[in-house]
């Protein structure tokens, strides 16, 4: 039991029923301390609390000023009683709030005004020696005495003058219960309690001599903000784990790529709209080196006349265009590089990449010019379209989406091309995630040497990450609101 509670119940044992004010008086504790102690004691049924509310007239600050200094009309009465008659100008200069004073004196019919002079009449003379009705109301309210019935009109006038107002007052009365009495009878010692256990007490064994205060464990404590990974990186770590568990090797590579790797090796014709300024961020830098001559020649032929069974895009391929550096627009550039390095002995091979890509996009709540992609390729002589669906379905189910939909799509570098949507029960609709397919022979043959099935996907996953964290605006990903980063829940998968 807290010290305060002991003091309150001890006082109540002496006088069995007390108002809150009386308890404050008897315990010398403040109002909050007594209220808290009473509430705790009542919880344990040691006291019972009775609460009554009543409407009371209370003085406003202006009202209490006048209750002490006298109403303006009283000042005027006193002045007029002394001087009999006074010029209006003098009256105004001698009385504060002269207008209010005069209004009430005239209303009561105490004064006469003639030729710019003010004087008390007979009624006024008599009244000046008595207590005015408004004064009676003020002193009754101040003294918390009941108002006589006959002063009702004047009380209303006082409220109208904003000298008093009606307030709902709470009256708390506490009585000690039977249990309370028994508790006191069993004995409560009002001894000093200790808060913090000190090293001194521990070492010397002094702790045995102290009584430790019982803490309110439900009270709030200061928040602690530990160090944390960024929420997006937490999700990325999980995505990485999924692919590793499925036997995929990680690919990494530069953010800056030549157009050759970003577009040409992926059979994207040089006139393709994706290669224009409004889609791709180009760099103001020197041209980049192309890979070995043989590969460049094979890629050129794929564009100009096609690979073995292909017609190609039939145009003149420009080597200089391929040297232009770009901020990679997709992680598929890494897949192309991996295929170029891969030896036949290494088949079947499965690779994934997680990385930042760049687009010339105007930023809004669903678009960013930088975002992360999850990329994957499977090189396997026996791979087919169903396997592509299998890998994607497995991945998205591990991301918490069991219902995926695929639709035909178009990309220059895949044929079978498809678009993946996942069903979001929260949104009651599909979220579009991006493309997948089987690399075209015009991509695979120059890089790998033959037309082997290469399943491929490159998809943004920002939207489903945001859904997990219940954010609607993709811009949150790079906003770095420190408080939000501190308070956001962990990625729990």
């Amino acid at each position: 039991m807290h010290d305060n509670e002991k003091q309150v119940i001890t006082s109540l044992e002496k006088k069995k029923k007390q108002s809150l004010e009386e308890l404050i008086e008897s315990t010398k504790l403040n109002r909050d301390a007594v209220s808290t102690a009473l509430a705790n004691l009542a919880d344990q049924a040691y006291v019972s609390i009775e609460e009554k509310t009543s409407e009371e007239l209370v003085l406003t600050s202006e009202g209490s000023m006048y209750a002490n200094q006298g109403l303006p009309e009283r000042q005027a009465l006193d002045l007029l009683a002394k001087t009999k008659e006074i010029a209006m100008n003098d009256f105004k200069s001698k009385i504060d709030n002269d207008a209010i004073a005069l209004t009430w004196l005239r209303k009561a019919g105490y004064v006469d005004i003639k030729d710019g002079k003010v004087s008390l009449n007979a009624v006024g003379q008599k009244a000046s020696k008595e207590k005015l009705a408004h004064e009676q109301v003020l002193s009754a309210v101040m003294g918390k005495k009941p108002l006589p019935e006959k002063l009702a009109t004047e009380a209303a006038e006082i409220i109208k003058r904003r000298l008093a107002e009606v307030k709902t007052q709470k009256h708390v009365t506490a009585s000690i219960t039977k249990q309370g009495l028994e508790l006191v009878k069993r004995g409560i010692s009002v001894e000093k309690e200790v808060g913090q256990l000190t090293p001194q007490m521990v070492v010397t064994g002094d702790w045995k001599n102290h009584k430790f205060r019982i803490y309110d464990v439900s009270a709030s404590a200061k928040p602690i903000y530990p160090g944390r990974r960024h929420f997006l990186n937490q999700a990325i770590e999980y995505v990485r784990k999924i692919w590793l568990e499925m036997g995929f090797k990680e690919m990494q590579g530069p953010l800056i790529q030549s157009s050759f790797w970003n577009f040409d090796a992926l059979f994207t014709p040089q006139s393709h709209p994706a290669r224009e300024m409004h889609d791709t961020l180009f760099l103001d830098a020197k041209k980049m080196n192309l890979p070995e001559l043989g590969l460049v020649k094979r890629v050129r032929e794929a564009h100009e006349i096609g690979t073995r069974d292909s017609l190609g895009w039939s145009y003149i391929w420009d080597q200089e265009e391929a040297k232009k550096p770009v901020l990679r627009t997709h992680t598929t550039a890494l897949s192309a590089q991996t295929l170029a390095r891969l030896r036949k002995e290494e088949w079947p091979a499965k690779y994934f990449a997680l990385g930042r890509v760049f687009r010339n996009e105007t930023v809004d709540w669903t678009h960013l010019f930088e975002f992360d992609q999850v990329e994957g390729i499977v090189v396997d002589e026996n791979a087919n379209f169903k396997h592509l669906l299998g890998y994607l379905k497995e991945f998205y189910s591990k991301m918490g989406y069991n219902n995926i939909r695929i639709r035909p799509a178009f990309f220059p570098y895949t044929e079978m091309s498809l678009e993946v949507d996942v069903y979001s029960p929260k949104k009651q609709g599909y979220i579009e995630l991006g493309g997948a397919g089987i690399f075209r022979p015009e991509v695979v043959e120059p890089l790998l040497g033959e037309d082997v099935p290469v399943l491929a996907w490159g998809q943004g996953f920002g939207r489903i990450i945001m859904e997990y964290y219940q954010m609607n605006d993709l811009r949150e990903q790079n906003k770095n609101d420190v408080q939000k980063l501190r308070e956001l829940r962990q990625w729990m998968m």
Partner: protein, 534 residues
Amino acid sequence: MPTVNLDKKRFLKYLDRDYDDEFLKERIAMLGTDLDSITETEIIVEAFPNRPDLLSEAGMARALRGFIGIETGLPAYDIKKGNWKVSVDHKVKKIREHAVCAVAKNVNIDSAYLKSLMQIQEKLHVTHSRNRKMASIGMYDLDTIKFPIKYTTVQHDFKFTPLEATKEMTVKQILKEHPKGKDYAHLLVGDEYPMWIDAQGQVLSMPPIINSAETAITEKTKNLFIDVTGLDGKVVDQAMSIIVALLHDHGATIEQVNINGAITPNMAPWEMKFDYKYINKFLGLDLTDKEIKKHLERMRIGVRGDMAVVPAYRTDILHPRDLMEEVAISYGYENFEAEIPNVSTVGEEQPATVFQRKLAEACVGLGLLECLSFHLSNEGVLIEKMDREPRPLLKVTNPVNKDYDTIRDLLMPGLLKVLSENKHHELPQKLFEQGTVVDEKMNEVTSLAIVSSHATAGYDEARSMVEAIFRSLGKPVAFTQDTKPYFMPGRTAQIAYQGEHIGYCGEIHPKVLNNFGLENPAIGIEFNVDRLLK
């Protein structure tokens, strides 16, 4: 991708069946276009760039009729012999070499159809023809033209009245003043300008810029003369095939035009050899030859033995793989079963990934909060606010906006910016970021930066943190006195690993704090992570 608004009424008329919106929505999407919405009067779709033949009501209806089985197989195009002669001047060879023509008679034109013709022309210009560069289409009221017609060149002072103008203009004026002239003038180089002119000297058009006012088609037009010119013969032929097919499907009679002895339009389908087994192998299916044939026919492709017969308007068939996709679309993407093959491979992370994760864990252990900023920043943040000497940085040629026109060469400025944007939140704020920074020579390096801001931030804290991180990595680190404009003199250390300088730490200079509008002291750390991994 281009969005087209198809007239629903006419589309359903071509389709010759009335289907509800839900059915159309689902089938159109599964045919291979991004369906946007279907309204009372319109079907709004985003056609993929490989299928410009789907950009019109007739084209979409033709494909869908096959896909849902109303009419399958190769569509037939009956092109009548005509007595129309066009001569091409050899002078166009250097400017806009390829030209094909066609005549369409008894075209049922109303205001809606006129709008639709304008739309398909515009969409073909933007996508298939790469903004009129590869090809451009002209359509004229045949009855305002006197044959034979010439495709020739003129000088800049040649005059005619272009569309959207009220009086004659010279070629020079058109290219400088006419809205279409200004948009496309860059497609014409040299002092000769291509021009279609009829037997009476009446101008038809100046490709690829603008048509003449006199020969323009209106709601009263019955018969059309069409030309397509361009730099790429294949693109030109394909554009003409798409136009002719949709006019033919609309009920027009198409007639041939003789161009210097050559007969156009050429609507003859072409053949591609394919292997039934190849299709089954890649799709993971076991379809019979007959089934594969049926699927191709549903996609309006003819089959003769192991030859696919492809309509002239299809621009996307480059390889038998493209036929395979046709089979898959007809089979239905939704009907493929997902399957994970029993292939054993070993997963493997990159050593850099593992190392960077360990570093991040060490930082989190120090109570640091990880931030993620954009790689794109600007010189104001990277140089000016950091009080660094101006230096060349890697710039984007076509930035999204000026705030993001430079690739970051340091992470610390980004973190100080984060502090400046979070002044209203409780201190201390201790942040870290790991990521790629790039120098002006395009060398990419992984960097780690830390900032800590609070009333008592000081050098000791920076040094303790660096030491704690290196201790956790089991690597040695050394500190020597140095200077950096963004650190306080005398409180700046160079961080060295195995005798090699890898970064800096110190107390952020009050001038830099002022530049970022920060009110509390801060420390900063940044070093190259890649060198530790070597």
